[in-house]
């Protein structure tokens, strides 16, 4: 139903370890809840560095991430579903990122926006965390330094496909 079937090749692999045990979408309720959740992604933009400039272009009128229901940035982790980690994460801000992630309510997803968050980028030095998956479980990696808004939109579509494949956490 919906985006689930047209999703990526290699759909059958187990869904995200992250949210819910089984990956295979079974019941109609799951599909309905998944549909609702993937089209209303409220994001917490944890912006730190240069990717923030591309994030501005992404949420503005030209590339407009609102077409995917993901435009309204919520600056409190309580009201956010997706944690957009945008820009380099240094060791000094790593505990802040950990706290913000912990304070988000389930179901929650994490998007690593930019290569600095995926692997530390070309800042392979004493000050930079080499990839935020050493701190928080990440659902989507968007490479690019900075990724062009089109790459991020493609990433959001992949995230939506992933949400659709997941077994929805209920109760």
């Amino acid at each position: 139903m919906g985006i689930g079937d047209r999703g990526l090749a290699g759909q059958a692999e187990a869904g995200a370890v992250h949210a819910g045990e089984g990956g295979w979408v079974s019941s109609k309720l799951d599909a309905a809840v998944a549909w609702a959740r993937r089209w209303s992604l409220f994001q917490y933009p944890f912006v730190t560095a240069c990717c923030g400039m591309e994030y501005m272009s992404l949420v503005s009128a030209h590339y407009d991430v609102d077409r995917f229901g993901a435009a309204l940035p919520r600056f409190s982790p309580r009201q956010a579903d997706v944690l957009f980690v945008v820009g380099t994460i240094s060791h000094k801000i790593a505990p802040v990122l950990k706290n913000v992630y912990e304070q988000m309510c389930e179901p929650k997803w994490v998007v690593a926006f930019g290569v600095c968050t995926c692997t530390g980028g070309f800042y392979d030095n004493y000050a930079t965390v080499q990839g935020i998956d050493t701190i928080v479980p990440v659902d989507l990696y968007i490479p690019g330094c900075p990724p062009t808004p089109e790459m991020v939109l493609d990433g959001i579509m992949k995230l939506q496909a992933k949400i659709d494949r997941q077994k929805q956490e209920l109760v």
């Binding site: 060791h91 000094k92 790593a94 505990p95 802040v96 950990k98 706290n99 912990e102 392979d124 030095n125 004493y126 000050a127 965390v129 050493t134 701190i135």
Partner: protein, 171 residues
């Protein structure tokens, strides 16, 4: 004494006024530069700022260089600029030893406060007379001074635990 002061007017006047305290001067690529004794730096800067013909009233930049093999090992570099006469001067102060120490310029310019904290943070050069010398860029638990030549580029330090405050605990 020091080599010839060259045609540069600033260096000549500096030479006449503080002849004995100046170790060497050069005019490489047009940048007037003078290496002076650490003890005299505050007096020289005060004079340079108030001298009618010079009036180097802005401390543009304060940084340090680590020459590792050379003795004295460190060199604190000051770039001064005059708004009125639009000329520049670079003062260099050698610093050596296990805990290098240089008199602080916070008495003359309040801007020197953060520059000196950064040089202390990244080089470990202490500034005597600085009101509040602590790390500015790195977190307090960081061990060592990374911009020293003997600090490896990607030597990782243990990651920070979750905490309630960024810098030192506020009283």
């Amino acid at each position: 004494m020091s080599e010839s002061a060259g045609a540069n007017p600033i260096l000549e006047r500096l030479q006449q006024r503080f002849g004995d305290r100046i170790r060497s001067t050069h005019d490489f690529r047009g940048d007037a530069t003078a290496t002076v004794d650490p003890a005299a730096i505050v007096a020289i800067c005060d004079w340079l700022r108030s001298e009618p013909g010079l009036e180097l009233d802005i401390l543009m930049d304060l940084t340090a260089v680590d020459y590792l093999q050379r003795r004295p090992r460190f060199e604190v570099v000051y770039h001064l600029y005059s708004l009125k006469h639009r000329h520049r001067l670079r003062l260099k102060v050698p610093a050596d030893g296990e805990a290098p120490e240089v008199p602080s310029l916070t008495g003359l310019w309040r801007g020197a406060n953060w520059y000196e904290r950064e040089v202390y943070d990244l080089f470990g050069i202490r500034f005597s007379g600085h009101p509040d010398l602590r790390r500015i860029l790195l977190y307090p638990e960081f061990v060592g001074h990374p911009l020293r030549k003997d600090y490896p580029y990607n030597k990782r330090q243990p990651r920070l635990p979750p905490r309630s405050g960024g810098g030192a605990q506020v009283t």
